[in-house]
């Protein structure tokens, strides 16, 4: 199968189940909403070392946010509810509450919820104020600047982590440009984030290592510098590989983001689109590239 002359390899992306949450951050203007969102999704690229994965889902116009101010939606993913509580407490408490003018609302209706505002409220040292309207409880926590408004509970749901595809290009520049186009296109898909820097990973990993103390190591089969030195999956003419990792609130969203991203990435200078596939050792979900692309 080829798209715009780019080969779509007959392989699949191997994804796994995670838990997801959506937070709506609002602030006095776009700048501060985005600042809080960037802080709250910082150092959240891989669950392996960060405890969670997170990214910005998109901007929300003021007339669509709960308090009528400019907003940004972020998604956070962890391996389980316990880890999610830990991550949300840290990220809301340290990155959003500390940021001037912000408020934080739950953006995911779900039967399963975690008390986040309900736990952070104690920062108010007894002067916190509860507000309950139409079943939604908020906490007003007094801070030096005024008040931080945070919703008591945040919904979490089963989600999908580790969706991915690899862009195999002729040069580093062509590969990066293709990856950038892919990420730009994927940002229009609701319910997904690409948690790595700018949505792109250059240091993809495999799930084994020669060192006993390491759970993951560089993906040698896709490192151009190791071509001929170790078992390689790279065809001739490939000099750079970038990966785009996708976390989504459901399988459909990850599938759609994969489709949109691959379509955008298939440009001159790209040789092949492949996917991270660990022979079924990593996770139960498989996104077959050709099937996703309608082939």
């Amino acid at each position: 199968m080829h798209i715009n002359g780019v080969e779509i390899e007959d392989t699949f992306a191997e994804a796994f189940k995670m838990w997801g949450a959506r937070l709506i951050i609002t602030a006095i203007n776009k700048r501060w909403a985005l600042t809080a969102a960037q802080e709250a999704t910082g150092c959240a690229t891989s669950v392996i070392a960060c405890g969670g994965e997170a990214g910005i889902e998109g901007a929300i116009p003021a007339d669509e946010t709960p308090d009528g101010r400019p907003g940004v939606s972020i998604l956070v993913f962890t391996m389980g509810p316990k880890g999610m509580k830990d991550q949300l407490m840290r990220r809301v408490g340290q990155c959003i509450m500390t940021c001037p003018t912000t408020a934080c609302f739950n953006g995911l209706e779900s039967e399963k919820t975690l008390k986040i505002g309900g736990a952070l409220r104690y920062f108010g040292d007894g002067f916190q104020i509860s507000k309950l309207l139409e079943g939604r409880r908020f906490w007003r926590i007094p801070v030096m600047e005024g008040e931080f408004l945070v919703e008591e509970s945040f919904g979490i749901k089963r989600a999908v982590g580790g969706g991915n595809f690899l862009i195999l290009g002729e040069s580093a520049q062509a590969t990066l440009e293709a990856a950038e186009r892919a990420v730009d296109a994927m940002q229009d898909v609701k319910g997904v984030v690409m948690p790595f820097p700018g949505g792109i990973v250059r240091s993809g990993s495999k799930t084994t290592s020669k060192y006993k103390f390491l759970r993951a190591s560089t993906n040698t089969a896709y490192c151009p510098t190791l071509h001929r030195q170790t078992a390689s999956n790279l065809p001739e003419g490939v000099n750079s590989v970038l990966e785009i990792v996708i976390d989504g609130l459901d399988e459909r969203a990850v599938r759609e983001a994969t489709r949109v991203g691959i379509q955008a990435a298939c440009q001159p200078g790209v040789v092949r689109i492949s996917a991270g596939n660990y022979g079924g050792t990593l996770g139960p979900l498989q996104f077959h590239l050709r099937e996703v692309m309608g082939g």
Binding site: P66, D67, F127, I129, L133, E134, G135, F138, R140, L149
Partner: protein
């Protein structure tokens, strides 16, 4: 809990096919106690069974059928019509459905109500929504004293739900209120939010004198200024833009209340009190 955004379109709603319609047979000055006019009691009763439900005419025991004409049965939607100024306790304790009252109505409408909706196309007398714990009471006229308040001897008044008054409300609205929202589009009488424990009380007109006397927690929002200076047991804290206010005012505007963009963006003066009690209550006065 009922949803006000759903109740909004019900304002002045047309008669539906499956409603039970009660019309007062005769205007009288003797009080009628009609707590049996309640969707919980109508929903599984035929017209004849509804007519046989008990009521008090003065101190005389009687039936609804003697006092009202009844059309329909087996419905949780009730319409009550006539000069109802001496009819009390309509919707008392209701937990479902809707009551539409066409005209002025007597005391104790929707007391102890747990869920559902009461829409009044007229004025309500005292104690409307007293001890409300859920649902929506929307009055398209004025309300008497003790709106959403606590009966004598009770430690807590309104515990949830929403009361919206299009006109004015009398004295002691929200007294001992524990939770929920009262929004009065006109003026509020004296002692609004007295001994309030929590909850939110919004007034778009003037906030009456002695508001918040004895309040422990809770929020009184004066969007139209105050009738008199606040009690000295309230102390000025600061002027600021509370984020929660934006959320509340946005919701109120979505329900059709006359909230202006300036009010949503506005600055409020925060007074804390009553300092002779716990002192964690607040009166937020809008600065136009």
């Amino acid at each position: 809990m009922g949803c006000v955004s759903c109740a909004g379109p019900l304002r002045g709603s047309a008669i539906e096919a499956n409603e039970v319609i009660l019309r007062l047979r005769e205007t009288r000055s003797i009080p009628i106690e009609a707590d049996s006019i309640c969707p919980d009691r109508f929903v599984s009763r035929s017209q004849a069974e509804i007519e046989a439900l008990p009521a008090l005419f003065g101190r005389r025991k009687t039936t609804l059928g003697e006092l009202f004409t009844v059309e329909g049965g087996n419905s949780e939607h009730i319409v009550v019509e006539g000069d109802l100024r001496h009819v009390k306790r309509i919707g008392q304790g209701m937990s479902q459905g809707r009551i539409t009252i066409r005209g002025d109505v007597g005391m104790h409408v929707g007391t102890w109500m747990r869920s559902g909706e009461i829409i009044v196309d007229g004025n309500v007398d005292a104690w409307a929504g007293a001890h409300l714990s859920g649902g929506v009471v929307w009055v398209h006229g004025n309300a008497g004293a003790m709106l959403g308040a606590a009966y004598a001897g009770e430690t807590r008044g309104m515990r949830g739900g929403i009361i919206i008054i299009d006109g004015d409300a009398g004295t002691r609205a929200g007294e001992r209120m524990r939770r929920g929202l009262i929004a009065v589009q006109g003026n509020l009488g004296e002692f609004a939010g007295a001994r309030m424990i929590a909850g939110s009380l919004f007034v778009f007109g003037k906030l009456g004198a002695r508001a918040g006397a004895g309040m422990r927690r809770g929020t009184i929002v004066a969007l139209g200024g105050t009738e008199d200076s606040l009690l000295p047991v309230f102390q000025y804290a600061c002027s600021y833009r509370p984020t929660f206010m934006r959320y509340y005012l946005q919701r109120l505007r979505e329900w059709g209340l006359p909230v202006t963009p300036k009010q949503i963006e506005g600055v409020f003066r925060r007074y804390i009190g009553d300092i002779t009690t716990l002192g964690k209550g607040e009166i937020l006065v809008y600065e136009p």
